[in-house]
Symmetry: C2
Subunit: 311 residues, 2 copies
């Protein structure tokens, strides 16, 4: 059957997958939500014609998003996922026995509805420890100071409403929403095709957090396959899974292991160079103790000039 | 300009790149040789409509093919590249100061000619330490017993003439062509799309070599991006770059570092499971001291029953 879905991964690069059936297609308040049954990847969630996840390769992305921060954190009890409406990251978070509450802040209820109906093995929304907020992720973190041990942003590409999730204003709000020792992770695209974005995100995280860095993994349905996860913490070293936690959790995974965790921080030089402070990075506007948002009584992001660790 | 080259990566998955110009197109005795100028990846070598390499991402593949075995080997002096007619692996091999002679056995002179003309920065064919043999790689290894410290197979996909390069007969010939401690590497495709092939190659290498394993890296223009390199040695541990060699060589690389080398052997479980001996693997026919080829006075591959190390 010659029905193909084609994504323009860049203006000059396309991926096409053979489609058995279009299972679902609707326009929500935010985007076009589509679920395809593809021959190569099984069922696939597509938002505004961009592949989000598929049954065949979802484990690679969701495991690396969830398990790196949750195994690096000394005691992750409260976790927030922003975006991630398919439920895959939340499902992996809920596999951790230390987690008491896992929240998801997803702006689009129709993504969650489509995932529940067509990709049920990707999610665990009815888990008693899970709670889904249909809200703007930025507002949610602003309204929840010192509330979370781990915050994970599983967003769409940085176009439209997702743009703000890659900016310093948001990173400062995340800092304040984290408890001491807290860890923040966000998907930060490809070092082959989105080099400026990665540089900007890294510079922003360095301006807000005492520890910032990047790890990587492969997602076959994303442009170029080589995908980055930007990470920043309130002090915790994200590179080291905590001793004995993997064995205690007893997870059966397909991508993550503690060795893979450590290895994911070994950066090829063409990636590592994106983490170096550029000579002319502007200091974050309003950063530090004098920033307007710092009055909420939360942890205060270190401003420019604070000693910082770039991994 | 709406000119696109499309590769069928699988029957159900396509990649398309926008083409500025078709620089070269001819039919050799073995295949269709094409060089495209693409917007996203720069110049690109395409054989029988399959992308082989491009200016933008060639470093990722060529560095991992060459530097892992050459930095793991205690003293690599004579190196053979089979295939690799674009010259990229040979170029990386020649950057090693220990290497006295680097041979390439490429069956198709027209690939080398096209690479010389259109991708000159990929190759270093006129280096006085380099020698190109236009010959069948299998015959070449059979005719050169105990001749090489490192043998690298940079082949096309396992269809047509390349099929034999993934078989046990060839692996036994490679074993004999290696000196003691020698290392063999071959590209072995994707763990998402070529799982049976990887299993077969690994079983074959285990049946011939005392040490066999696999490492991985990313090549954006290959299906799924996640690419494997199967490795086997006459005793050397390929996982550890030799102490001080990286610093002594002073290479400027974009993908390889000693940390990346070690990390490349950290296998996600969905890959590691391909290395496990299947319950019903047949012993290699004629393997061991009684094999017809063992009479050449070379090293004898250990037969079934020999203690072996799978990494």
């Amino acid at each position: 059957m010659q029905v193909w879905f084609t994504e323009d991964q860049t203006p000059n690069l396309r991926i096409s997958v053979r489609v058995r059936q279009v299972l679902h297609q609707e326009r929500s308040a935010y985007q076009e939500v589509m679920v395809l049954d593809t021959v190569e990847f099984g069922r696939m969630l597509v938002l505004d014609d961009v592949i989000q996840t598929s049954q065949k390769d979802e484990f690679a992305y969701h495991e690396m998003m969830a398990h790196v921060p949750l195994f690096a954190h000394p005691d992750p009890r409260r976790v927030l996922v922003i975006g991630g409406g398919d439920g895959g990251v939340l499902r992996e978070v809920l596999r951790h026995p230390t987690v008491e509450e896992a929240h998801m802040a997803e702006i689009d209820p129709q993504v969650v509805e489509a995932a529940r109906r067509f990709l049920p093995e990707l999610n665990d929304f009815d888990n008693p420890r899970a709670r889904v907020f249909f809200t703007d992720g930025i507002r949610h973190v602003e309204e929840h100071p010192e509330a979370y041990d781990v915050i994970i942003v599983d967003s769409t590409d940085p176009v439209g409403p997702a743009v703000a999730l890659f900016g310093t204003e948001f990173h400062r709000a995340v800092f304040r929403a984290l408890r001491p020792g807290g860890i923040f992770v966000q998907q930060s695209e490809s070092p082959f095709f989105n080099r400026d974005l990665i540089r900007r995100v890294q510079a922003s995280l360095r301006s807000v957090f005492p520890v910032a860095g990047l790890y990587w993994g492969v997602v076959p349905t994303y442009p170029g396959g080589f995908w980055t996860y930007s990470v920043a913490t309130r002090g915790t070293d994200p590179r080291r899974p905590r001793e004995g936690a993997w064995e205690a959790a007893g997870l059966r995974t397909r991508y993550y292991t503690p060795d893979v965790h450590r290895a994911a921080f070994a950066l090829p030089p063409f990636v590592a160079e994106l983490l170096e402070p550029a000579p002319a990075v502007e200091p974050a506007p309003g950063g530090g103790a004098g920033s307007p948002e710092a009055g909420a009584g939360n942890g205060t992001p270190p401003g420019a000039g604070t000693a910082q660790v770039a991994l």
